[in-house]
């Protein structure tokens, strides 16, 4: 598998109202949505995902993810790193680990693009943790849905032509040759490398093109949906197609944690949160399939936790770590599969519980990274990439 796209549903989506409907539960649990059939016989989803329902035969749904964490930051750390949070250490996110592993083996012909990109910004704990910040995600910023979208600092000011930038670069090289008194310590070399990478990004047509979502045909842009989320997902595909190893798309809805529906859960999901997601993710799966990229691209969609089966007095649902859903697609995973199930109220898994550590072991295995590899913290303490987790065999085929 060459690449991974992680769509992060910030705030924690209600699993009952999306991927784990319980039509037979009482009204105070099942909520306001009706189930709909999908392209997988016997599999139902909530009515809020009509388009995704038609793509489920290409996806794998895990309905039994479970974690003791039910606070946003702690749960996000658990889901994005595979480790429960520790006061002593922040663990590295999936993308940072991929970034490190790819950088360690990178050859000269490697893409000039950063291996780990966040669109449009990075969720908390999608950082490099105890690894060096060099493996943090490169965030695009901005809104890919805006006509004038561009990545800050990645496109030089208009007055600075390519020719002039190249001339300046050669002048810098000359200056550095002159001041050879400066010892070439690892820090000096490291700065040179970042500068070289920056010049490459700024002067390479391929790199400039990679972020230029405006070059996508109009029909494709429409298919992903003219929303920030839809175009972010499209940009993710565009980057992965051009060699980026890991893209995190942060779906914040309309706020910081849009999926945190303590209040007015149902209209918020139905009118605001679900439609752009339904459109964008179904488009991604179709598009990757059409381009023959699905097998080589792993798609993960999840939030920090599920939400309570009980509906609170504000017509909302509250944090619920015991049950959560993860939608997976591509990466050679079995298609049309549903793994695990929750009890009648969607409160806890009753079959094949999967922990975030199990998920991490699975994802790393799919990405060709040994989950038992050891990494060193800055104070040289060895830490296993995944602890207390086993890759889910049913998913590895």
């Amino acid at each position: 598998v060459d690449a991974c796209i992680l769509i992060w549903l910030a705030g924690g989506p209600s699993h009952i109202d999306t991927f784990d409907p319980k039509p037979d539960a009482s009204k105070d649990v099942r909520g306001e949505f009706n189930p709909i059939p999908t392209s997988v016989p016997g599999l139902i989803l909530s009515e809020v995902f009509p388009r995704l329902a038609k793509s489920m035969h290409r996806a794998t749904l895990v309905r039994s993810l479970t974690s003791p964490e039910a606070e946003h930051d702690r749960a996000a750390h658990h889901m994005l790193t595979g480790y429960r949070p520790s006061p002593a250490l922040v663990y590295p996110s999936y993308g940072s680990v991929v970034n490190k592993v790819r950088s360690d083996v990178a050859s000269d012909g490697a893409s000039v693009l950063p291996p780990y990109v966040a669109v449009p910004d990075a969720p908390l704990f999608s950082s490099s943790g105890y690894l060096t910040p060099a493996y943090d995600p490169f965030t695009t910023g901005g809104d890919p849905n805006l006509p004038a979208f561009r990545v800050r600092d990645l496109t030089p000011p208009d007055r600075l032509t390519l020719e002039r930038l190249l001339r300046r670069r050669s002048m810098v090289d000359r200056l550095d040759d002159f001041s050879s008194d400066l010892a070439e310590t690892p820090l000096v070399t490291s700065r040179d490398q970042f500068a070289a990478q920056a010049y490459d990004l700024l002067t390479s047509g391929a790199a400039q093109t990679a972020f230029k979502i405006q070059d996508e045909p109009e029909a494709i842009r429409e298919r992903y949906g003219r929303s920030t989320l839809g175009q972010s997902i499209l940009l993710a595909r565009r980057l992965v197609e051009r060699g980026v190893a890991f893209v995190t798309v942060n779906d914040r809805g309309t706020g910081q944690l849009g999926w945190d529906t303590h209040v007015q859960n149902f209209p918020t999901i139905k009118n605001t949160l679900a439609p752009p997601l339904d459109q964008g993710v179904s488009a991604l799966v179709e598009d990757l399939t059409a381009r023959g990229m699905l097998d080589r691209t792993l798609v993960i969609m999840m939030g920090e936790f599920g939400r309570t089966p009980a509906i609170n007095p504000n017509a909302g649902r509250d944090h619920h770590g015991r049950a959560n859903c993860v939608l997976l697609a591509g990466g050679g995973l079995p298609m049309g599969m549903v793994l695990g199930k929750t009890d009648a109220k969607a409160d806890s898994p009753v079959e094949r519980p999967v922990t975030p550590a199990d998920l991490a072991a699975t994802v790393y295995t799919l990405l060709g990274i040994e989950p038992r590899s050891m990494f060193l913290t800055p104070d040289r303490q060895p830490i296993r990439l995944v602890d207390k987790g086993e890759a889910v065999r049913e998913l590895l085929g």
Partner: protein, 791 residues
């Protein structure tokens, strides 16, 4: 020479490591322990292994004779047969074996929930629990006193039965024999009426000075409470701090120095840790006259002594221009002005560097810049202290302006009570609100003021340091009586927070669930009246002149501000396992700091006027490989505030900050709260002061930084600004050579060399668009290595 020369052993002791050495020709020694030929006379009494490890066999007197190229050396060995049977001590004999074999490591049975139902305490911090786990848990099926050899513990550890950890013990080894004997004896916790715990360990030699890279045997001795000294060389755990320089055999304590360098070894036995050092002269044939080096103060005396002993030449002093730029950046966060550079270069007085330091210390920029460093250390920010941040910042600024002694400042922080939001008195009260629990407060105080990381000891004894869980909770207990005042009756004090003493505040030990009395690091318990603030006693101890950590941690932190790394590095980790590279220098500088009454400006002056700080950054033959000894100045990336101000200063185009007009020409060093938005400060890694950040060492480099200065508007916009320096200069229609000289002075704070001057002068003269060419040169200077680093 043989060590020990005389020795008494008990017949059941496991064995003793001898050391045999000869003097070298380069002032070091040659370890013969592994090359000597040994024999014991008479041979029935003891056996000797080729590596110099002697095992007792039966009572009697014997000679150990070691044959070396320099002749024979002899040790006298007495083996006793004490009347009583072999005493057992599970804590001192069996638990260390689990550490040595890795059984109780974090990846195995030492994990919080154990491994396959068998849990040992991490690195053996809870011998009582370990003893229970082995002898009683799981239906007591792990051992069989009737058939010790068939105990599950033995069968698993030797790999006879399937074991996830594989074979940890070789059948027939010392470890197996000892375990079986212990089980056969009934697997006691302690078989004597009075336990005799180990109180300390030592290593021999503490510093091995070898003539050449090669092998060095170490021996480790444990001192028991009764005064008995036991050889634990084969029971201790070894690790090297730099495996590119030295290896150590974890079984035997035999180290190998791989190249001409120096490395530290860390040795652990039970909860005791000790460090040893192994080194060779780096350049054995160096001819360098160390005697003529100027020694301006205690720093130079100690540093040059060390460099001489390791035969590492220091680089010659930095040029005047490089020194001026370096010291101005370090003291004020700014670049020197062009006129100032010219004046300094022209000044012929021999003490001009000292005078410059003295003058810089009086500038307001000095206070601005250093309040950022101290603010980072204390994490003063609106994000953490809300309404208290203003008073806290005010207090910090005032104290730095007054050059308040550091011990007085720390005492104020540790003991102030009252309303943290009152401007004049409230500032230091905020310190009491910094951590949400006594535990966190203890961790923060230990780390900030003492350079100690005690957090590991919250859950288990610190694996690579002295600190036990008892130390941790005892230290936290000093903060147990802080009443944060948030839970008072609403309206009673108008909702204002008020920090006061809560006589009932307490801290419980995680394992024993007992209320823990305040206990100083190192063991001394403190008895106090119920309504006293224990923090006063803590402040008394921390600021005592003989406190072993406070002054050392402070001078090391300050040193790191000037050198990019500490004498102990990382600088906030003064653990036994992380020894200082120059112990004498650290000790002498700490002593100086105490003697000068914790005077921060004096300490800064001492460092900044030392010959050591003024060394050039260009290596000379013999110190090219050194990045540890401070033989030359290592380039440091500009910090966020330095970078932002340097760009503004060089170009005469100020940075713009929220709620400040560009006409106010606000400098980055005036922006002390990270809540004030600034792309350049964030990109270049200013400390967010939310949840800790390294306040020492070098800033992190990132791709984002490179993109900002290369692709962004930050540099290009300033260079081409219509009211900027370049536009103004060009309006005077200067000659190309003048342009080059001025731009070099602005950006790099030095004059161009003749070669640089002619190269760029010609480039400008032949350019079709002279303005563009000058902009390009200015831009390139601001994007050069030399600009990006403090060197």
């Amino acid at each position: 020479v043989i060590l020990p020369e005389r020795l008494t052993l008990r017949a059941f002791d496991p064995g003793v490591q001898f050391l045999v050495s000869s003097p070298g020709v380069h002032g070091g020694s040659i370890d013969r322990t592994n090359s000597a030929n040994y024999r014991v006379e008479p041979a029935e009494v003891a056996t000797i292994e080729p590596g110099g490890y002697l095992r007792p066999k039966e009572p009697g007197q014997a000679k150990l004779i070691a044959n070396t190229p320099e002749g024979e050396v002899i040790a006298q060995v007495t083996i006793e047969n004490p009347a009583e049977s072999r005493p057992w001590d599970f804590d001192a004999e069996i638990v260390p074996m689990f550490s040595k074999l890795g059984c109780n490591a974090g990846g195995c049975h030492g994990k919080a929930d154990g491994q396959n139902g068998f849990h040992l305490s991490l690195f053996g911090y809870d011998p009582e629990g370990d003893h229970r786990a082995i002898t009683r848990d799981a239906g007591a099926r792990r051992i069989s006193t009737a058939d010790p050899e068939l105990s599950l513990l033995i069968l698993k550890a030797t790999g006879v039965m399937p074991h996830g950890g594989g074979r940890r013990i070789v059948p027939g080894s010392d470890a197996e024999t000892m375990l079986i004997d212990w089980i056969a004896a009934g697997a006691p916790r302690s078989s004597t009426a009075k336990p005799d715990p180990v109180v300390s360990i030592t290593v021999e030699p503490p510093v091995a000075r070898l003539d050449e890279p090669g092998k060095q045997q170490f021996r480790v001795l444990a001192r028991h409470e009764s005064g008995r000294i036991a050889d634990v060389t084969r029971q201790a755990v070894y690790k090297t701090n730099d495996d590119t320089v030295a290896d150590v055999d974890g079984e035997t304590g035999l180290a190998t120095l791989k190249r001409r360098a120096e490395a530290d070894l860390v040795i652990r036995y039970q909860s005791h840790v000790v460090a040893a050092r192994i080194a060779t002269p780096f350049n054995p044939d160096l001819s360098f006259d160390f005697a003529t080096l100027p020694r301006r103060n205690v720093i130079d005396t100690e540093l040059f002594k060390r460099l001489e002993s390791l035969k590492v030449p220091p680089s010659p002093p930095a040029s005047d221009a490089a020194f001026l730029r370096r010291v101005t950046l370090d003291l004020t966060g700014q670049l020197p002005e062009t006129a100032e550079i010219r004046e300094f270069l022209a000044d012929k007085s021999p003490d001009k560097r000292e005078k410059k330091v003295d003058e810089l210390l009086t500038r307001r920029e000095f206070s601005w810049f250093w309040r950022i460093k101290f603010g980072d250390l204390l994490q003063v920010s609106q994000a953490r202290f809300q309404a208290g941040a203003g008073p806290y910042q005010y207090w910090l600024t005032e104290r730095l302006n007054q050059n308040a002694p550091w011990d007085k400042m720390v005492r104020e922080l540790l003991t102030s009570l009252g309303d943290p939001t009152i401007l004049r008195e409230g500032g230091p009260v905020n310190y009491a609100l910094d951590g949400e629990s006594p535990q966190v407060m203890g961790e923060l105080a230990a780390q900030r003021f003492l350079g100690l990381r005690i957090r590991c000891a919250q859950c288990h004894d610190h694996p690579f340091d002295l600190w036990t869980q008892d130390d941790y909770y005892g230290f936290a207990a000093f903060f147990a009586k802080i009443d944060r005042g948030n839970s008072g009756p609403p309206g009673a004090n108008m909702g204002r927070p008020r920090v006061k003493v809560n006589p009932d505040g307490k801290v419980e030990h995680l394992r024993t669930k007992q209320v823990v009395p305040p206990r100083l690091l190192g063991g001394e318990e403190v008895r106090l009246e119920k309504d006293a603030d224990p923090r006063v006693a803590l402040a008394d101890w921390i600021t005592r002149p003989d406190n072993p950590y406070f002054a050392r941690a402070t001078v090391n932190w300050l040193w790191a501000q000037f050198f990019g790394k500490g004498i102990v590095d990382p600088p906030d980790d003064l653990s036994v396992a992380n020894p200082p590279v120059h112990p004498e220098l650290l000790g002498a500088l700490a002593k100086h700091f105490v003697e000068h009454k914790y005077d921060i400006r004096d300490l800064i002056r001492t460092i900044a006027t030392s010959e050591a700080y003024g060394l050039g950054s260009k290596p000379v033959p013999g110190n090219e490989q050194d990045n540890r000894l401070f033989s030359h100045h290592l380039p440091r990336p500009l910090t966020a505030h330095q970078m932002a101000d340097a760009l503004a200063q060089a170009t005469d185009v100020p940075n713009v900050f929220p709620n400040r007009t560009s006409r106010s020409r606000t400098r980055a060093i005036e922006i002390f709260d990270p809540g004030t938005a600034s792309t350049i400060l964030d990109t270049f890694g200013r400390c967010p002061r939310t949840n800790g950040c390294s306040t020492t060492g070098n800033p992190q480099l990132t791709l984002r930084q490179a993109l900002l200065v290369i692709g962004g508007d930050v540099v290009d916009g300033k260079v081409s600004h219509l009211n900027g320096y370049l536009a103004n200069m060009l309006s005077f229609e200067p000659q190309p050579s003048e342009i080059v000289e001025n731009l070099y002075l602005r950006a790099l704070c030095r004059l161009p060399t003749a070669e640089e001057s002619s190269h760029w002068g010609q480039a400008l003269a032949s350019a079709s668009n002279p303005r563009e060419a000058a902009e390009d040169l200015f831009w390139a200077l601001l994007n050069s290595r030399e600009f990006a680093f403090n060197h």
